[in-house]
Symmetry: D2
Amino acid sequence: MSNSFGKIFKISTYGESHGLAIGVIIDGCPSGISISSEEIQKELDRRKPGQSKITTQRKENDKIKILSGVYNGLTTGMPISLQIKNKNQKSSDYKHISNSFRPSHADFTYEKKYGARDYRGGGRSSARETANWVAAGAIAKKFLNSLDININAYVSKVGKCQIDIDYKKLDFSKIESNIVRCPDNNFANKFIKIIDNARKNKDTIGGIITCVIKGCPVGIGEPIFNKLHAELGKAMLSINAVKGFEYGSGFKGVEMFGSKHNDKFQINNGKVSTKSNFSGGIQGGISNGEDIYFKVAFKPVSTIMKKQKSINNDNKEVIIQGKGRHDPCVVPRAVPIVESMAANVITDLYLQSQ
Amino acid sequence: MSNSFGKIFKISTYGESHGLAIGVIIDGCPSGISISSEEIQKELDRRKPGQSKITTQRKENDKIKILSGVYNGLTTGMPISLQIKNKNQKSSDYKHISNSFRPSHADFTYEKKYGARDYRGGGRSSARETANWVAAGAIAKKFLNSLDININAYVSKVGKCQIDIDYKKLDFSKIESNIVRCPDNNFANKFIKIIDNARKNKDTIGGIITCVIKGCPVGIGEPIFNKLHAELGKAMLSINAVKGFEYGSGFKGVEMFGSKHNDKFQINNGKVSTKSNFSGGIQGGISNGEDIYFKVAFKPVSTIMKKQKSINNDNKEVIIQGKGRHDPCVVPRAVPIVESMAANVITDLYLQSQ
Amino acid sequence: MSNSFGKIFKISTYGESHGLAIGVIIDGCPSGISISSEEIQKELDRRKPGQSKITTQRKENDKIKILSGVYNGLTTGMPISLQIKNKNQKSSDYKHISNSFRPSHADFTYEKKYGARDYRGGGRSSARETANWVAAGAIAKKFLNSLDININAYVSKVGKCQIDIDYKKLDFSKIESNIVRCPDNNFANKFIKIIDNARKNKDTIGGIITCVIKGCPVGIGEPIFNKLHAELGKAMLSINAVKGFEYGSGFKGVEMFGSKHNDKFQINNGKVSTKSNFSGGIQGGISNGEDIYFKVAFKPVSTIMKKQKSINNDNKEVIIQGKGRHDPCVVPRAVPIVESMAANVITDLYLQSQ
Amino acid sequence: MSNSFGKIFKISTYGESHGLAIGVIIDGCPSGISISSEEIQKELDRRKPGQSKITTQRKENDKIKILSGVYNGLTTGMPISLQIKNKNQKSSDYKHISNSFRPSHADFTYEKKYGARDYRGGGRSSARETANWVAAGAIAKKFLNSLDININAYVSKVGKCQIDIDYKKLDFSKIESNIVRCPDNNFANKFIKIIDNARKNKDTIGGIITCVIKGCPVGIGEPIFNKLHAELGKAMLSINAVKGFEYGSGFKGVEMFGSKHNDKFQINNGKVSTKSNFSGGIQGGISNGEDIYFKVAFKPVSTIMKKQKSINNDNKEVIIQGKGRHDPCVVPRAVPIVESMAANVITDLYLQSQ
């Protein structure tokens, strides 16, 4: 396995969905950053289950505890250990998959790769792991905010319904004003309805999250192999259920001519910028000072409440039906995850560039 | 900078576009693999400039030399040093950008990040670097072939014209039968025409490459953070001009319901497989034995033969015009690059899983 | 900071001496290894304070808890999180050094490097950290024992008194039979007396630990830069208070002629071995199948009960006197630490060689 | 294998003793450092064979070539590729060991670990590799000199003859004034005589090199696991023929009492220093501003001109006799190697601490 991410600001995680606890160690966080468990908790609460009618109804309180690395409210430069004890697991909800493999889940591949497997709640393959990332990301965000670097993500597509407004015309302060985390209320309502319909049909649906990073200075990113967008892409593709990543002009950019796609430089009051930003704020793997923006595609959640044919570990056919409490669509709760992983990446590359 | 890729099968590269030489060291290649410089050269020739009317007309012979790690035709387990001497550079073609920044190139960000800059041919930011990746990939491919793992990539979209045939119905043996590297001759001709038109208009155009990996056994990929698709994504996003990556159902998958998207297991003659493959051969970051397939989006090349406004290092406006010999579309020559980076990733993760 | 050790069997640690808890994550432990918290506890008890009259009289129960990575008594291949809650700290014993620097301690350098500092109990620089290493080492030992690789360390010198018996003539089963951990009772008594005298004089004294690894197969160690002895050396030099490392003939070997120092091969019953073993079981950085043996030098503990002149953070002279409960000599409790770090190294390199 | 060293200032090496070339890539060297191939060559000439009557009489010109990363005499921040073509190899001198194993060499362990083996000149296990380290170290030294950090090593013991003068009383400017590289002419003559006698007896002898680093600022070194002395130790133990490493009081320190061993702080003109320096300039793994000093023990060279019994790959006994041209004692030529590896370590940790 490989449970560490980052080079300087490095996070290492552990924990199974229904084990005793999950947690993350941050090694390489600069000293002198003010941080409290309340600030971390606030981010975790944006990710927590049971927050609205369009998320899973599981209740996980996810109370964060800082075990090391912070003294008198300041980071000390020592490894920061953050821990969440597991509570309210209903492991009995998973007995039926102790020997069976849910379609499009990691049950089958984990069993074949590792043999001994903690199947309860999906074990280590559960998206519960992402709570660790959000906890670490809360500290990264705190660090970046002190540098006036701000990261905002929002839901921009659910099913076939896609927002048709440029991100520059959206008011990010409204992202948290609705339960689907979309800054445009009109589209928010459409998204909520689509998700709710899927839920009523015992089905699930996919979506897209757009993320915008403002204030990143010129020079962040380490070519050749740790390019800024390659690190962002890897981080996003690490999130459960993600199937695609694009930045700047993305897949649409392939249809353009170079003469149109090129971002011309301009100088205003002695400051260099570009007139367009198809580059997405990154050239040659290094930030150029413009907004960095990218999109992340999430597939529909695999666990559905309908009956499905599947197989068990003895290669016999079985019928499987989702029990318990699951999300009909992952994107509303994935917004803070996308932001946090982006924050972890930018912090790490920022520190590498010093 | 960060010029190494991989954990066990690790490649480290060097070299500027117009310096004395470029090269790659492969550390961690198993001993006992039969390899010759001719086999590496064959892959390099697929990438080399000047190979057809729709690529740059630069002549770079790119002769590979094996300096270490191979003895009596077999790898010895020692680091393999591969080197290509630079020839036929026309550095004078680049004098005009010694102090100016080409739009949407890495000139500006490299200058701001590193200061002292070898501008000739784009220096280290040039796509010439990818010759190193193809050279390493030729050895990775040799290793994978001995395990019956095969990797094929082809051009599936140019501009707005996209192939509408499932990859399973294409004959990969025809990929090299035309200059654009598309296994369907009908679409190949369309693609060539679009590229040729762009070239005649002194412009450039983007495209998409699809890659298919067959024969990968169950169990390759290292969750949580080195998931198979995350490593593939990072590798692809490292390639010059890439703006997006998706695997399996990709961005289209967000529009689907879970009940449709889930890949049901089936058993044929005691062998487990899935009826559909929206997962793209990967579940939980680990290969499940099905075909792995993904798409890579390339933007239009930045260097165009038209005049463009730009700025120089003194923040003055200048007029820039592409000189020399450049590709009107990058995808025909990028096919072996995509294959090679995929081979480097699979080899590395395969060795990690042993 | 850099709080991780190892490449495949990788340990990452956290925790300050007087914080809430200390802990270690092991990433890369193979699945299917039988392990219980009792087995880990047994090793920790060999390291724990207060175990005899010649160690510190602090009482630290150091109860280990397995938080993840073990299910039904077997490792699962997932990261193993081990945690020890801190109890019985007397932070008041350290008030006097909140703004002063103890001579030959890390107080001064941590203050200058990190600024914000948790001075209580030495914070992160405390040897309490080594409990994490012993916990991880208990699992590594379990793995190695299944391969018939056994590691034994013992005290071979205290002050000027050095054992003059070859390790091959010692009975390692007697190491735990006395409080100083020396398999020869005669020398054990001498060592105990020396330490006890130092303690009575409110002083401290140094010592040497010898470690022997038996059963290591041929081929372990990764030249050029992760040579077996270089990794062992780095691991030992990471232990608090260590000033030197030598293996095989060591510093004495420099006085020998090559004709004498060379270990001649011999064949017994078709099995290759060497007549002498000045190489210490390692040639070219790779194990050759002979016993691996090395020595580790520990300086006298810095905290003494006598008054000492020192300085504070305002560059003023102060008088400092050790309070609390400290070891008069570190080596009796360091024996399991040396063994554990050796086990961590051998396990990691063994897995790298597969 | 593992052929890379360092985290930020990272060197990756390749090449067999009798292959086409050896070389090193430096990744992570800051931009803007003035460097010429002549400056690198000067360091290499201190290491080169055939420099005096007490070294091997092989003639290896070892001409360094800079292939990348330097433009207009300045480093550009891009990877620096340095290469030495192999010349004057007499591979026929090694035919006799193509199937036999020289005692106390790496022949046996490399054969068993890797199988296919380039035996010529010892292949990859040859100390010829250290020329790469000296080449990289020349650039590291250049960087450190600009920070007023200076590194000097010298021979302090040969066979049983040890210099009895404190390093502070030696004039390092005289190190290069004699062929054995000892700043005291009296001891230099003794050392030369001992080596010459060994050579005349067709034998070899060991020695010790002392290294002193002056001007290192407070705060260099990354606890817990990349402590300054642990990194130095690992680097030194990577050098061929090294059997031991100690810093500060070293193995002698174990005999001391804490009250004597503790380095008391003092303040002179507002500057903090310590009265004694048994710590060797390092506390808690971090430099404290005092001189850093350490000793490295080298065993006698394994290749002797006398006949020795040995075995071959078929487990048959054979008689082996050193042919060709070998060093009777490694320390005179190892002085620049010790300095270079120290420079590589300090540069890497310095950059990590920024």
